[in-house]
C-alpha cells in the first residue's frame, strides 16, 4: 500500500508520447514539482518525500519518457535536457500551475536546471540532489567506462565494466543490481536497492540505449547555473560514488545557493536519509515563499 495516493492522476500527450503524472495535496497553495531522473527508475523514487510534502504543498510527480506510466519511447531526441524541460512545462500547464519549486535528483538536476534557465518564471526555487552536472572531473572508475561503453565487454567483466551497452542488452538485471549497489553506498541498504532494481526492471536496455544516444551538444552547465535567478539548494552526499560531492559544492557556489552536505550519504539520499532531506526541502520551500 502506498502511504498517500494521488488526488489527481492523468497523462499528458506530448506529440504522441504519453507521460503519466500524479498530483498530491491538490488543494494546497504552493507547488513542488519533483522531476524525473535517469529513466532507469521512475517517479516512485520520490515515495519518501511525497506524503510529507503533500501535507503542506501541492506535489506533482511525473514519469519521464521510457519508464513508469509513460511510454517506452526509443527516440533519442526525447531524452535531451531541453525535451525534459518542455515536458515539465507541459505537465505544469496541464495541472494549471504557474510556478513551482522544482527538485531534481542526479540527471534530474540537468532537467531542472534547464527548465529554470529556459523558463525562469515557472521556477520559484531549484533544489538539486546529488546533481549529475559535469562541473568537475568524474571519479576515476567512472571515467574509465566512457571509452569502452560501446566496445565489446570482456568475459568475467566486473564492477564499472558492466556499464557497457552490450552488457546492458545481455545482462540488464545484473547491471542494475550492480548500479544500485553503487548508488546506495550506505550500509544496510537492502530495501532501497530492491526497490530501485524493481523500478529498473519496468523498463529495458533499449530505452537506456536511446537515452545514451541523445543528440548533443552538451550544455555549458556552469554558465546556466550562474545565470539562474531563483534561490537554489544543493544536497549532496559525501560518499556519492556516482556523482562526486565536489560537483554539488561547485553547483551551490555557482548558483549562489545553499549547500547541504550529507556526511557518509550516497547518491540518492532522498531514499536513504529521507527525514533529513524532507526537512531540508520544507525549509527551502518556506524560505523561497518568504
Amino acid at each position: 500500500m502506498r502511504a498517500r495516493y494521488p488526488d489527481i492522476e492523468g497523462h499528458v500527450d506530448r506529440h504522441g508520447l504519453k507521460l503519466g503524472y500524479e498530483v498530491f495535496g491538490a488543494a494546497n497553495q504552493r507547488t513542488v514539482l519533483l522531476m524525473p531522473t535517469w529513466t532507469i527508475i521512475h517517479s516512485r523514487f520520490w515515495k519518501m518525500q511525497v506524503p510529507y510534502l503533500a501535507r503542506r504543498y501541492r506535489v506533482i510527480t511525473y514519469d519521464g519518457p521510457g519508464n513508469g506510466r509513460s511510454d517506452r519511447v526509443t527516440d533519442p531526441a526525447r531524452y535531451t535536457p531541453g525535451a525534459y524541460a518542455s515536458d515539465a512545462v507541459a505537465v505544469l500547464d496541464e495541472c494549471g500551475v504557474e510556478s513551482a519549486v522544482v527538485v531534481g535528483m542526479s540527471l534530474g538536476a540537468r532537467y531542472g536546471t534547464t527548465l529554470a534557465a529556459q523558463e525562469p518564471h515557472r521556477v520559484a526555487g531549484l533544489a538539486l540532489i546529488g546533481p549529475a552536472l559535469p562541473l568537475t572531473p568524474p571519479s576515476p572508475e567512472r571515467e574509465a567506462i566512457f571509452d569502452s561503453f560501446r566496445l565489446p565487454y570482456p568475459e568475467n567483466v566486473t564492477g564499472w565494466g558492466k556499464y557497457n551497452l552490450a552488457y546492458w542488452h545481455d545482462h540488464y538485471a545484473d547491471f542494475v543490481e550492480f548500479f544500485f549497489s553503487q548508488c546506495f553506498s550506505e550500509p544496510h541498504s537492502t530495501k532501497a536497492i530492491e526497490d530501485s532494481v524493481g523500478w529498473a526492471l519496468e523498463t529495458n536496455s533499449r530505452v537506456l540505449e536511446a537515452e545514451e544516444n541523445r543528440p548533443g551538444p552538451e550544455d555549458d552547465w556552469g554558465e546556466l547555473l550562474t545565470r539562474l535567478r531563483c534561490p537554489t539548494l544543493v544536497i549532496h552526499g559525501t560518499h556519492d560514488r556516482i556523482q562526486p560531492h565536489e560537483r554539488g559544492r561547485v553547483a551551490a557556489q555557482l548558483s549562489n545557493g545553499r549547500l547541504l552536505s550529507m556526511e557518509a550519504s550516497g547518491h540518492i539520499p532522498n531514499v536513504r536519509d529521507p527525514v533529513k532531506v524532507n526537512l531540508a526541502l520544507r525549509d527551502f520551500v518556506e524560505r523561497v515563499a518568504s
Binding site: G257, L260, M262, E263, A264, S265, S290
Partner: protein, 706 residues
C-alpha cells in the same frame, strides 16, 4: 558585570535633550532596540543584546527622561513626535540606514509611527507585548485608574496608584505595585528588582508628564488607520497571554493589521524579554534570518550510524577545582568508552588546565562571557556574597546559555555533562523543548542558604530559588538523565531548603546518585612525599607553609594578610618557609615581598605542593580544602565572608572529616595568624579518609548513558 560591552557609546542631541545610545558593531542586518521610556531604559534588553550582537549589528538607546539620557520635564517634552524624533536621531548618529526595529510595550507605538513616517529606515518590526492605540482592547483597569488620575485619593490601592499624586509623591510605591502585577510568573524576584531599579532612575514628575503627554497628540481613528495601512513590512509580535499591562488582544490586533506573525507565550506576563529570554531571543533570530538570512549558508549533516560518539563537557569556570575533577572523570570515561570524543565548552581559568592536559576546547568557548570575571567583580576584600553574585550573573548565564544551545544544536552531541553548569540546567528546565542528548548534572552542594546579615528578605530569596529548582525537577524529570552528587549523603548540610520545603538531605538522596568525593589526583603515599618535596626544592627540615586562594581572583586580601604575618611567624619558627601562590588571576608582583617568602603565579598541578606541605593556608573553597584533607595535611581555612557555600556546606563537610581549622578573617590579627602557623605547621593529623575512586564511580554512572 555585563555580559557584552558596546563597541561604542555616545549621545546625540535632539531638540536640546541628550539621548544616550550604544552600538554593538557586527555584520549582517542592524537591529534597533527601542525601550519604553521613561519607565525603563535600554537595560530592559540585557538578556537579548549579548545574543543578538553575536549575530547582528545592534543599536539601542535610553529614551528621554531616564537612564543615561537627559531628563526634560513638562508634558510637551514627552510627546510621541519627540520620542519618534529620538529614534531618528539615534539612527542617524549610529549610521543606521535601515534597521529591523525591536520595541517593547508602548514603544511599539513610536516604532510603528517611525516605520510609517520613515519607511526607508525600517525593514521589519519585532513588537514585544505591544500597546498601540485602537489595536485591540485595553485592560479596563487603565480606564478606571485614568478617571481618577488627577484626584487626591484617600488610601489609594491597586490600580488607583496610577495617579499623578501618587506617582509624583512616591514613585517607588507605584512602580513596585506595577511590576509586581506584571511579573505574573513565579520566581521573578530578580526581574522585579531589576525593573523597579531601572524605573527609579526617572522621577515621578517625568513619568507623570510622559503619561499626560500621550493625550497631547492622539491620532483620530482615520489618521491611525491611514498610518497602519501605509505599513508594508514584515512584523513579528510576541505577546504573553497573561500580560496585564497590554492585553494580548493588542498583540493580536497589531499582527492582524500588519498581516504579521503572532507568537503567544502562554502563562507569560508583560516582561517576556526578561522572563522568557531564551524563547524571545530564538524567535527574533528565526524571524530575522527567515527574512534577511543568507542563502549561501552551508550545512553538513552526518548519517546517524556514521557519527562518532561525542560528549560536550561544560565545567564551571568559577575557580579551578571543577576542571581538575572533570578531567579525572573524563580520563576514566575514556577507559570505558575509548572511542568517545570529548569537547569542552570552557573559559579561563579552566581552559588553562584543559590546554595543558591536551583536551579539545570547542571554538565557541571564546564567545563566552566571563563568569569568573563577574565573581571577581562581585568580591570586595575577603567578602563574596556568592548567592547575590549568582543572581546578578543572570544576564551572563543567559548569554552563555544561548552560545551553549547553538553548540549543541549543531554538534550532534550524545552526552552533555554540566559540572555546576547552572545556565544549562536552569534554562533547559525553562525551555524543555531545547534539550539535546543525554544530560548529566553534577554538583558538590545542593541548596542556597541565607547568610544571617541578609535577614528575612535573603531567607525569602534563597527559599524561592530552592523552590524553583525543586519545581523544575518535579515537573521535568526528563531533563536530568543523571544527577551526580560529588560526595556522600553524610556530607549534606543538615538543613531544609526553606520554610515548608523538604530537608536538603532527604530530597538530595531521592534525586541524586552519589559518586563520593573526586579529588582529581591520588594523594602521595608516605614514601612518595619525600621525593616530591625534593622535586619542589623543599628541604626535609623546612616547615613549608603554602598559601593559596584558588583560581577565581578573589583573595588578594587574604594573601596580603597572611604574608604580613610571615615575619612574625618566621621569628617564632625559624625553619618556616612560606610559598604564596597568586594563581591565574592575581599579579604576583602586586604582593609584598619578604626574605624567605616565595611568590608564584599560576602553578599547574598545585595539588603536588599542597600534598607535601607542612601547613596550608587557604580560603574555604571545597576543592582545595578537600585536597588537603585527602593528603592529610594540616591547614587553616578562611571562609569568605557572606559566602554561604564556604560557610555552611564546605565547613560542614570538613567537620565530617575532622579536617582543617576554620578561621575568621575579620576577627584574627597578624599575631593570631602567626601563632596559628607556629602551632599547626607540621602537626600530624588523623582525618576521616577521602575515597580515591570517586572519578571512576562518576564515570561509570555517566557511561551508562552512552
Amino acid at each position: 558585570m555585563r555580559a557584552a560591552t558596546p563597541t561604542r557609546a555616545g549621545t546625540v542631541g535632539h531638540e536640546d535633550v541628550e539621548i544616550f545610545y550604544e552600538v554593538y558593531e557586527n555584520g549582517g542586518p542592524t537591529l534597533l532596540l527601542v525601550p519604553p521610556s521613561p519607565i525603563t531604559h535600554s537595560r530592559i534588553f540585557k538578556a537579548q543584546i549579548p545574543y543578538l550582537a553575536r549575530h547582528y549589528r545592534v543599536v539601542t538607546f535610553d529614551g528621554r527622561g531616564t537612564g543615561r539620557s537627559g531628563r526634560p520635564t513638562g508634558r510637551d517634552m514627552h510627546t510621541r513626535a519627540q520620542n519618534v524624533g529620538d529614534i531618528l536621531a539615534v539612527a542617524d548618529a549610529a549610521g543606521v540606514e535601515e534597521a529591523i526595529v525591536i520595541a517593547h510595550c508602548h514603544a511599539n507605538w513610536w516604532a510603528v509611527d517611525f516605520a510609517s513616517s520613515h519607511p526607508e529606515r525600517v525593514a521589519g518590526l519585532v513588537a514585544i507585548d505591544p500597546g498601540i492605540p485602537y489595536l485591540g482592547k485595553p485592560h479596563e483597569h487603565w480606564a478606571e485608574a485614568g478617571a481618577t488620575w488627577n484626584e487626591a485619593l484617600d488610601n489609594p490601592s491597586g490600580w488607583q496608584l496610577f495617579n499623578r499624586n501618587v506617582i509624583t509623591g512616591d514613585l517607588e510605591r507605584w512602580v513596585s505595585f506595577f511590576f509586581d502585577a506584571q511579573l505574573v510568573e513565579k520566581h521573578s524576584t530578580k526581574q522585579f528588582e531589576d525593573a523597579v531599579g531601572w524605573a527609579l532612575e526617572t522621577t515621578g514628575e517625568i513619568l507623570a508628564d510622559s503619561e499626560e503627554a500621550q493625550d497631547l497628540d492622539p491620532p483620530t481613528r482615520e489618521e491611525f488607520q491611514d498610518l497602519v495601512d501605509s505599513l508594508d513590512l514584515p512584523v513579528l509580535v510576541i505577546h504573553g497571554d497573561q500580560d496585564v499591562c497590554q492585553h494580548v488582544d493588542k498583540g493580536l490586533g497589531l499582527a492582524t493589521a500588519t498581516e504579521g506573525e503572532l507568537k503567544v507565550i502562554e502563562g507569560g506576563g508583560h516582561l517576556a524579554l526578561a522572563r522568557d529570554p531564551v524563547k524571545v531571543n530564538r524567535a527574533i533570530k528565526t524571524f530575522v534570518d527567515t527574512k534577511w538570512g543568507k542563502d549561501m549558508s552551508t550545512e553538513t549533516w552526518t548519517r546517524g550510524l556514521s557519527r562518532p560518539k561525542r560528549a560536550l563537557y561544560v565545567s564551571s569556570p568559577i575557580g579551578l577545582g571543577h576542571a581538575r575533577r572533570d578531567l579525572a572523570i573524563v580520563e576514566e570515561l575514556k577507559k570505558i568508552q575509548p572511542d568517545l570524543q570529548v569537547d569542552w565548552l570552557a573559559q579561563d581559568p579552566v581552559t588553562r588546565v584543559l590546554e595543558s592536559a591536551g583536551e579539545a576546547i570547542h571554538p565557541a568557548s571564546e564567545w563566552l562571557a566571563s563568569e569568573s570575571g563577574h565573581i571577581a567583580s562581585e568580591s570586595s576584600g575577603h567578602d563574596l556574597h556568592c548567592f547575590q553574585a549568582l543572581r546578578r550573573m543572570d544576564e551572563i548565564l543567559v548569554a552563555n546559555f544561548m552560545i551553549f544551545q547553538e553548540v549543541v544544536d549543531a554538534g550532534n552531541y550524545d552526552l552533555i555533562v554540566g559540572d555546576e553548569a547552572w545556565d544549562i540546567d536552569h534554562y533547559w528546565h525553562e525551555n524543555p523543548e531545547l534539550k539535546r542528548g543525554s544530560h548529566v548534572w553534577m554538583t558538590d552542594f545542593v541548596g542556597y542558604m541565607p547568610m544571617p546579615e541578609g535577614g528575612d528578605h535573603e531567607a525569602y530569596l534563597t527559599a524561592d530559588y530552592n523552590a524553583e529548582m525543586i519545581e523544575h525537577i518535579a515537573r521535568y524529570p526528563r531533563i536530568r538523565d543523571r544527577a551526580i552528587f560529588v560526595g556522600n549523603p553524610d556530607d549534606i548540610y543538615p538543613e531544609t531548603f526553606g520554610p515548608d520545603l523538604p530537608k536538603i538531605r532527604d530530597w538530595t538522596e531521592d534525586h541524586f546518585d552519589f559518586a563520593g568525593y573526586i579529588t582529581g589526583f591520588t594523594p602521595p603515599g608516605p614514601d612518595e612525599v619525600d621525593s616530591i618535596r625534593d622535586d619542589l626544592g623543599f628541604a626535609p627540615h623546612e616547615k613549608v607553609c603554602v598559601v593559596t586562594v584558588g583560581g577565581s581572583g578573589v583573595g588578594q586580601d587574604l594573601l596580603n594578610k597572611v604574608i604580613a604575618s610571615f615575619p612574625l611567624a618566621k621569628a617564632q619558627l625559624p625553619e618556616l618557609r612560606m610559598v604564596a601562590v597568586a594563581g591565574p588571576r592575581i599579579d604576583p608582583d602586586s604582593l609584598p615581598s619578604h626574605p624567605g617568602l616565595e611568590v608564584l603565579g599560576y602553578v599547574d598541578r598545585l595539588y603536588r605542593h599542597l600534598s607535601v606541605c607542612d601547613l596550608a593556608i587557604v580560603q574555604g573553597g571545597l576543592t582545595t580544602t578537600m585536597e588537603l584533607t585527602a593528603a592529610s595535611r594540616p591547614f587553616l581555612y578562611f571562609p569568605l565572608k557572606n559566602h554561604f557555600e564556604q560557610n555552611y556546606h564546605v565547613r560542614y563537610r570538613l567537620d565530617q572529616h575532622g579536617a582543617g581549622t576554620a578561621m575568621d578573617y575579620d576577627a584574627i590579627d597578624l599575631d593570631g595568624i602567626a601563632e596559628a602557623i607556629t602551632s599547626e605547621a607540621g602537626r600530624s593529623v588523623n582525618y576521616r579518609p577521602v575515597e580515591t575512586d570517586g572519578a571512576q564511580r562518576a564515570a561509570r554512572m555517566i557511561a551508562e548513558l552512552i
